[in-house]
Amino acid sequence: MVSRRSITVATVAGGLVALGMGLGVFLSVQGIIPRGADAQRIEGLLWPNPKRVEAFTLIDQNGAVFDLESLKGKWSFVFFGYTHCPDVCPVTLTVFNAVHDKLAEHPSLSDDYQFIFVSVDPERDTPDKLRSYVSYFNKTFIGLGGTEQQVASLTGQLGVLHVRTEANGSQDYLVDHTASVFLIDPLARLVAIFSQPQEAEQMASRYVDIRHFVEANI
């Protein structure tokens, strides 16, 4: 009884896989998916229609404006969080630092990439706080903040959510926030989203694969 059912499920599943493969090959041959197999194999890649990032304005850890132009010409790893976050933010920024070190080990890769931490807690995260926070993880990291509206100018278009919780009037509130890492290409297009949990080796290799893929398909 059980085995017959399993066989049926396996047959249906096998059929679907075969159909999927057939379709994939067909689409690749037709050129509908550029290098179809590659694109599908890279987890997190948003292709063939990466979203273009639109105008936004944020303030960096030194008080300077960081806007759409600042994304152009570089690959950007972007993470949203807040400095009062004890778990997922330091974990992710530690991963960023490890990715940074791994990429630096490969002289064949040019160093046109930047790591960006965007604070979704405008009330507490001043540029001074952001400077000491991000530079602890890596001196080259960029910390962005600004007013509520400025932060929303980027979070809104990327679909990043952030909600204050346990606000009891003190400074002790927490912020629930999107914890994925956004990869933006030098044309300011959102080309990949890496979901948690983050792992340095994996993030570095996905980045390299995505970079090669996107450069070959521009």
Binding site: Y133, F137, A179, P197
Partner: protein, 151 residues
Amino acid sequence: MTMQTRTLQVLLGSVMLAISLNSLAECAIKIQNAWIREGPPTATVLAAYLEVENLTNTTLKLIGTESPSFERVEIHRTEMKNGIATMHRYDSVILAPNSQVIFSPGDYHLMLIGPKGPLHAGDTVKLELTFDGGSTIPVTATVRKAPPHNQ
């Protein structure tokens, strides 16, 4: 005199009971790999991670956490839902008989609020875990830049 001896006996008895309760708790609960992630010098919150194992055949409940090095210690858990990290505060954590609860990055952690001084990798910090029934277990956590290898 007799009264005084009796008081002393009662007192001694309570002290010994307290000691034996504590050692009972220490035998019943095993805590390993306690560590605190080093944070930026200006950090106002840090997280501690550890493995808590209930070696008894009864359910135990972790109901309190504190540390002389922090203003407050709370039990938190990071939960991921649709890519959003949500932090929940828990008043207690249930330890089923003969089971282990692992406090680890991206999961349960002790949220250490208001460090009383700067902490650097290599420093040790005293924590106290209180269980239902009143037994308290002292824990020494090491400040580290990265998790211990076996975690």
